[in-house]
Symmetry: C2
Subunit: 357 residues, 2 copies
């Protein structure tokens, strides 16, 4: 806790893939999808709260979710909730946080984390974070955290290490490879999943943005006097309106030559789809992931069933299905068709308006 260490939680996602449980009005990071009593964003906060005091958390989110951040993280002061007027991918979000911090404390170290991932082995994860923090104390580098891949996942980004050091320079980033390539990646032992967690000194990321995203640097530098003042929101609105949408991976990490990765295996998942949630949940004797009580299944296997609290379900004859019931929407869909969820949302919106998105 000696460092000027801050944690930036990125919580602007709209998480359509968990529809109908996630909605535009309550995206995935605010859901308690494992029924633990804590939402993803709450678990994310608590993951770092042992080493970072509440006043050193920044939460970047959409204006529309500010009240949800208040509700889930009451410890975080309103001044530390950075409201993006529109989503512009991760680079503008990180710019907003980095330039705010740079103004406040140019010597700050900064952890950036998604708000909607799962980490089961918090202890191993904590050790990796500590190592990464030690490393940036002594090196002007941009650190990422990689995950030992357990399968040739085609939905993730991969990071290639350049050597076998525990903390290694990154050779290459590859977004969502095809299956053949993913299999080569996994077999090689050189490729790791990109967790989207970054550790760096704020001056190093600002320098990298200046170099690799000069237009973003120009925009955010122009409002540095406004940050932390009553004119902040208006200035940020202006900047986001002009600002190009780009991910920090594409905009900075893939280009910079001082990017390092610490890889590990700490029970990570981005829990990005009903299918990946199914993999993670405990199953009954017929390999169904379903509520502990109130869900009666017959001749049903390999299915994931999500119900509102206190709802009873009787389900007969489903194999490999996703059944998601909510107060206002019921979805029944084969597991291997979950990529159609986007289409369902569009069709429901087309016929019924935005109410059910």
């Amino acid at each position: 806790m000696d460092r000027n260490l801050y944690c930036v939680i990125m919580a602007g996602g709209v998480g359509a893939r968990f529809w109908p449980k996630s909605r535009r009005s309550k995206p995935k990071q605010f859901l308690d999808i494992f029924d633990t009593g804590k939402s993803f964003i709450r678990l994310t906060y608590e993951r770092f709260a042992g080493r970072i005091s509440p006043d050193r958390f920044l939460v970047a989110t959409n204006e529309a979710y500010k009240h949800l951040v208040n509700e889930h993280l009451p410890e975080v002061d309103d001044r530390n909730i950075l409201c993006e007027p529109v989503g512009r991918n991760t680079a503008p979000c990180i710019c907003y946080a980095a330039y705010s911090l740079f103004k406040k404390d140019p010597d700050a170290a900064m952890i950036v984390t998604p708000s909607d991932h799962m980490i089961l082995d918090e202890k191993s994860f904590g050790e990796i974070i500590d190592e990464a923090l030690d490393f940036i104390d002594n090196h002007n580098v941009l650190m990422t955290v990689g995950i030992t891949p357990s399968r040739p996942e085609t939905g993730y980004g991969y990071i290639q290490k350049s050597d076998s050091q525990v903390i290694s320079r990154v050779k290459c980033f590859t977004e969502k490879p095809d299956l053949e390539l993913a299999e080569v990646f996994v077999q090689s032992g050189e490729f790791f999943w990109n967790s989207g967690i970054f550790i760096w000194k704020v001056r190093d990321i600002v320098a990298a943005i200046e170099r690799w995203l000069p237009d973003h640097h120009a925009l955010f530098s122009s409002i540095i006097d406004d940050l932390g003042t009553p004119s902040e929101q208006q200035a940020v609105g202006r900047v986001f309106a002009q600002c190009r949408a780009v991910s920090i991976d594409y905009g900075v990490m893939e280009k910079a030559d001082n990017v390092y990765v610490r890889c590990g295996d700490f029970g990570w998942s981005d829990v990005g789809t009903w299918g990946s949630l199914f993999q993670l949940l405990p199953k009954d004797e017929n390999n169904n992931a379903k509520p502990e009580s109130g869900c009666f299944t017959y001749d049903t296997e390999d299915s994931i069933i999500s119900l509102p609290r206190d709802k009873v379900a009787v389900i007969n004859g489903l194999h490999d299905y996703i059944v998601v019931d909510t107060e206002d929407v019921l979805m029944i869909c084969p597991r291997n068709e979950e990529q159609s969820i986007r289409k369902y949302i569009d069709e429901v919106r087309y016929h019924l308006g935005d109410k059910h998105n």
Copy 2:
């Protein structure tokens, strides 16, 4: 309207086969399952209201449903709602109504009708009722109404005519034949479905009960002084506690030799199961019976889908299913397994108590 004509609506059923839409607390006769704005019992009442004034309706039901009768048939005075303390099948129910009427008006004619059947061709039905009423004016007989069978249904009772007269003496009643026998019945042209609708003079049914159900006659005769007085409910409680459960078909109609039937074809269904409802409902181009709006189906056919008002459903990959969603229970079941619904109710009750029955 010249006759002393009364209509007895039997509305004591608990209708478990439409679970989870029907419940012990709101059985089928009180449901508007076709979404017409009128429940089965309301439609039954209106079917006869053209020829019988409101004060000549008697509604026999369970005490627990009296408030529902009040709600659905506000025209019917509380004095004309006969509350059965426990269900004892149709014979005690009809005894209660017949002895009440006999005391009030021994010259009365009486139509007995179930409260949860569907009749599409009200005009033909009305003509048949009129013919039957004319017939009992001149004959001391017990009339039933038969329906020309459209398929070898194994769930119904059958009535065999003894000749080809329009109004014919009944040769035989057969309850729920097996499929082979049902096929023979339908081919023969002599067998008709038993609608459960009866037309008789009250003195004739009382005479038949005295003859064929002497213990029931003794019990109900013993409380004739109480009927229509403040001591009625207590007396009826005593009688029902002692009274043997038996159907009027088994107890009287199968035994009496003055039973006649008027057969016809008037779009009748007992709508006894989700499957029979499926047959009756309009279908989309994939043969799905589903709500007109808010229900989006993909690769789904031959299925019946029932949703709460305003609920949205997205259903992919179901063939020949019943999907019934209600506020507190969701059921998904292959159409050919609907006989399992009784088992589901029992299992839900065993684990969760009576709340969802």
